[in-house]
Amino acid sequence: MTRMRTLNNQLFFNRWKMINLVFLINLMAFGIVMLIDVVSNKMTFKLVMFDKWYMYYMLLTFVAYLVTWVLLAKDNEQVLFSSKYRMIPITEWKLYLSNMLSSLLALIYFWFLEGIVNTIFGSIQANHFLVGNALTSILYTKAYYKLPNVDMTVRSFIIGFLSITLVWSIVTLVHFLISLISDKFALKKKRVIKYVLYFLITYICLMIFNSTVSGVFVLMYGDGFNVLEKINSMLLTSIFIFIGWIVVLTLINIYLLKKHIETDY
């Protein structure tokens, strides 16, 4: 029997390489942007440019996040549909969990890399604080140096993390259902039906999800949202709702993987 840790290492290593590549491209694109800026300013360097660069960097990072998210989701799906992994003597739930786990680890690794760059920017900015413009002052002072509530930050972070897991779980479920339906019935125009199903199932999932979340919030905080102290406990509730949904989806997915889902190649 293959150990879960072994599989984890294998899966994570591939994604680790992928993340490094994305990060490298991100940095290179950023380097090019800086270079273009310096060249078009007749090779003079002003500290004001630095603020502009930071904005560019944020923008590029945002794109990189999206790319990473999509690449990881794609890889996550491919593993479950590939003989390369399905042949391995490991139970379906271990395969599923280590697949999800290594995707999440890869994402954390990406956050970590971006965090390093951000810290570098932050420290440069802090040293030249007076020269910076108003926007960056607000960004740094508020976001980095005057965190109002550590607890809340941690909770928001967890929420971000969980929502990504949740969306990946939904994507997997959609993918599984599509594969299940096209396996059971002879479908003509498979591609068209595939995309229709994709939209339909995603829509249904979002609807169900949305109504539960808002339902719970209305029940718990029906007396109004704008009380600041309540935001924190609201985040906590969201965390529980998210976890509940992830657990349910994971169980359904593992059941489908075990009983019905076959490899594409």
Binding site: Q78, M87, I88, A186
Partner: protein, 235 residues
């Protein structure tokens, strides 16, 4: 002799179509069995069902006394066409993966086979010819020490020199108590290897027949027998 593989009442559908129907099969260990049938007859599907990669909706598969999927996967080495690997993967990376995830994978056995077949560890998957890729698949599959090896068309599209090498490596590295099922639609190349033959036709399996029985009862070679079965001249 014990049954290394037992298939009972297997039915399998995909996309609303029957692929396999009422499959029953018992294989003794230690033999080399040819799984013959036209392209699309369900040879690959049957192998993947046995290996636990495809799911069984109806029927029971028993490998070496095990019915649990995970234990079956431990006992079966299926030849994977390596489509799950990236084109940029080096052979060494693929070997490393196999070595990590299969506990019964022997790196020394792999190296012996790879040396015999002349595989170069530093080459990338995309750079391999069909023949070399076929050799890699065989080396990876045989380097596990399984009870049952499933070789899915190991010789298809492969030149005659590589074919001979692959056949030699199968003879050389098969343990006496392990069993090999080889599927092919080009029979002659593997004819001299086979102890027994299973033919898939019209979603059904014809009984297992020893090659010597084909020769002594029908006075036919495997190829001729197979053709006659397909043409309906032998029931």
């Amino acid at each position: 002799m014990s049954n290394v593989l037992k298939i009972e009442e297997l039915n399998y559908k995909k996309g609303g179509k029957k692929i396999l129907e009422d499959v029953n099969l018992k294989l003794d260990s230690g033999k080399i069995i040819g799984l013959l049938g036209e392209n699309g007859a369900g040879k690959t599907t049957l192998m993947r069902i046995i290996a636990g990669v495809n799911s069984v909706s109806e029927g029971v598969i028993t490998v070496n006394g095990n019915t649990k999927k995970i234990l079956i996967k431990e006992n079966v080495s299926l030849s994977d066409h390596l489509d799950g690997f990236k084109a940029t993967n080096k052979i060494s990376e693929i070997v490393h993966f196999y070595n990590a995830v299969y506990q019964d994978f022997s790196i020394t056995k792999y190296e012996d086979i790879a040396n015999f077949l002349g595989l170069d560890m530093t080459k990338k998957l995309a750079a391999l010819s069909t023949g070399t890729r076929g050799k890699l698949v065989i080396a990876l599959t045989l380097a596990r020490s399984a009870k049952l090896y499933l070789l899915d068309e190991p010789l298809s599209g492969i030149d005659s020199i590589s074919r001979k090498k692959i056949i030699s490596s199968i003879i050389r590295w098969k343990d006496d108590d392990s069993t090999i099922i080889i599927s092919d639609h080009y029979v002659t190349a593997i004819a001299s290897l086979l102890d027994e033959v299973v033919i898939i036709k019209n979603q059904k399996i014809r009984d297992l027949i020893p090659v010597e029985q084909i020769q002594s009862d029908y006075h036919l070679g495997i190829e001729a027998y197979y053709e006659k079965v397909y043409l309906g001249e032998i029931q």
